[in-house]
C-alpha cells in the first residue's frame, strides 16, 4: 500500500511531470514564471487546488456518477466542481488569510482555466476508477502532480531571473529563449524515466 503510494508520488511528480512531459498547464508555466516569488505562489495555489479537486472529483465520481451510470458526464461535472472550488477557496482566503490572498492575487482565479487541474481529475478517474482505494490514490496523485508543477515552475522562474541579466541575441529575446529553456528542461526531465 505505502509502496504503491510512493510509486504514484514519484512517477507523477518527476517521471511523467505534468508540465514537462505531459504538457498540461503551459499557460501559467510560461506566463507566471518571471519571478521566483510569484512562481512559488502560483505553484502553492495549484498544489492546494489540485489536491482538493482530486478529492472532491473522486468522491463525486464514485458515489454519484458511477452509481447512476453517468460516467460520460464526468468532464462537464468536473469543470463545474473545479470552478466552484476555486471560487470558494478565493472567498475563504480573502476572509481568513488576506495576506496570502494578496500574495496570490490574480493567479488564484486563473487556476480555474489551468488544464492541469481538470487533466488530473480526469486521469485519476481513468486510472483508478472505482477500485478499493481510489480516493486515496487520487488525492496522492493530485498532490504529486501539482508538486511536479511547483518544482518545474520554480526551476524555470529561477532560470529566467538569470536569463534577464544576459545579453541575448535579438531574435531570441523574450518568449523564444523561454521556450528553448523549457524544451531543454523537458529533455533533462526525460532522465527520470529510468527511475522506476
Amino acid at each position: 500500500m505505502i509502496k504503491e503510494l510512493l510509486i504514484i508520488a514519484i512517477s507523477s511528480a518527476l517521471i511523467s511531470n505534468v508540465v514537462l512531459s505531459q504538457f498540461y498547464g503551459l499557460c501559467p508555466f510560461l506566463g507566471v514564471s518571471k519571478q521566483l516569488k510569484t512562481a512559488a505562489g502560483m505553484g502553492l495555489a495549484v498544489i492546494f487546488v489540485i489536491t482538493l479537486s482530486s478529492l472532491v472529483s473522486s468522491v463525486i465520481y464514485i458515489y454519484i456518477l458511477d452509481k447512476l451510470g453517468l460516467g460520460y458526464l464526468k468532464t462537464i461535472v468536473f469543470i463545474l466542481v473545479i470552478a466552484c472550488l476555486v471560487q470558494f477557496v478565493e472567498m475563504y482566503l480573502k476572509k481568513k488569510i488576506p495576506s496570502l490572498y494578496q500574495a496570490l492575487g490574480v493567479y488564484l482565479p486563473l487556476i480555474t482555466t489551468n488544464c492541469a487541474v481538470l487533466g488530473t481529475a480526469l486521469t485519476n478517474v481513468q486510472n483508478y476508477g472505482t477500485e478499493k482505494h481510489a480516493i486515496l490514490f487520487g488525492v496522492m496523485n493530485g498532490f504529486a502532480t501539482s508538486f511536479g508543477f511547483f518544482i518545474s515552475i520554480c526551476i524555470l522562474a529561477g532560470i529566467r531571473e538569470k536569463i534577464d541579466r544576459n545579453n541575448i541575441p535579438k531574435a531570441f529575446r523574450g518568449m523564444p529563449i523561454v521556450l528553448v529553456t523549457a524544451g531543454l528542461m523537458a529533455i533533462a526531465f526525460c532522465g527520470f524515466s529510468g527511475l522506476l
Partner: protein
C-alpha cells in the same frame, strides 16, 4: 430510446448546479469582506501606473492606505497636485500643497569629458559593473556608468543615455523614484522641478584626483560657497551641494565654478 437516462442526466446536472449555486451563495454571504467604497473611488483617481513611487505595492495598495489614513492624500508623486486634489475631495480633507519634483542625474561626465581606464565589454547592466576592477571603466568611481539600468527601470520613458551618461527628460519625469532606487552609484536625486542650478557631479575624490578623472568634476574648491549671496551652497567631502530651499537662482555659483560642474537646469 431510453428517455429515463436523459432525464436522470439532466436532473443530476441541474441538481449539482443548484447545489453549487446555493453553496457559493451562502459561502459568499458568510465570508463577505466589508470594504470601504472609497477605496475604489480613490484607486480610480490615482494614475494607475503601479510604479510604486509612493512606497506602496501599487495603486490599489496606495488607495487602501489613503482611505485607512496611513498615507497622506498627496502621497502620489506621479499624479502631483491634480490627483491630490481629486483624492482630497473624495476623502473630504484639504490636500495641502505638494511641490513637483523631478529626477536629476548628478554626473555630467560624458564620453568626451570623463577619462576611461579601459574598455568594458560585458553584460550591459550598471549593477554588474560593481564586480569589475575600479567599479566601472571610468577613472572616476562615482560617475554615471551609462549602461542604462535606470532607462530600463523607468516606467515613463523619461530617462535616456546621451553620450554615455543618463539624462532625465524633465517634462516626462513623474518623480516616482524608481531610478533613484535602482542606480548602483546612488547618482540620481529628486530635486524640485523649478530648481535653477544643480551640482552635476557626485565625486568625493580629492581635488587633484577629481581634476585628473574628469573635465567637469567638482574639486571642492569652495568658490561657489564663497560667492553665494544667500549661503545656499555647502561643500562637504570635496563636493558642493546646493540647498534648494535657500537657493534663489542667481547663478553666481555656476558662473564662478572653474570646472563648470554646476549647471543650469
Amino acid at each position: 430510446m431510453d428517455i429515463n437516462a436523459i432525464l436522470i442526466a439532466v436532473a443530476v446536472i441541474a441538481f449539482l448546479g443548484l447545489f453549487i449555486g446555493l453553496f457559493l451563495g451562502i459561502a459568499g454571504d458568510k465570508l463577505k469582506v466589508e470594504e470601504d467604497e472609497r477605496i475604489g473611488l480613490v484607486e480610480s483617481a490615482l494614475p494607475g501606473n503601479n510604479c510604486g513611487g509612493c512606497g506602496y505595492a501599487g495603486c490599489s495598495a496606495m488607495a487602501k492606505a489613503i482611505v485607512e489614513g496611513a498615507a497622506p492624500v498627496n502621497g502620489c508623486p506621479v499624479g502631483g497636485e491634480k490627483v491630490a486634489k481629486n483624492i482630497a475631495e473624495i476623502m473630504g480633507v484639504d490636500s495641502g500643497e505638494s511641490v513637483r519634483l523631478t529626477a536629476f542625474v548628478k554626473c555630467n561626465g560624458d564620453c568626451e569629458k570623463a577619462t576611461k581606464n579601459y574598455t568594458y565589454s560585458g553584460v550591459k547592466d550598471c549593477r554588474m559593473l560593481s564586480f569589475v576592477p575600479g567599479k566601472g571603466e571610468k577613472a572616476c568611481s562615482y560617475g554615471c556608468l551609462g549602461y542604462g539600468t535606470c532607462v530600463k527601470e523607468c516606467p515613463f520613458d523619461a530617462i535616456h543615455i546621451v553620450d554615455g551618461i543618463a539624462k532625465v527628460d524633465k517634462e516626462r519625469c513623474k518623480a516616482c523614484g524608481k531610478c533613484v532606487a535602482i542606480c548602483p552609484k546612488n547618482l540620481i536625486e529628486l530635486i524640485p522641478y523649478d530648481a535653477a542650478y544643480s551640482v552635476a557631479c557626485s565625486s568625493k575624490d580629492k581635488g587633484p584626483d577629481a581634476m585628473k578623472n574628469c573635465k567637469v568634476s567638482c574639486i571642492g574648491c569652495g568658490l561657489c560657497k564663497k560667492n553665494c549671496p544667500v549661503e545656499a551652497v555647502e561643500v562637504t567631502d570635496f563636493l558642493a551641494k546646493i540647498d534648494y530651499d535657500k537657493c534663489q537662482g542667481c547663478g553666481a555659483c555656476a558662473e564662478k565654478c572653474p570646472k563648470k560642474a554646476i549647471v543650469k537646469n
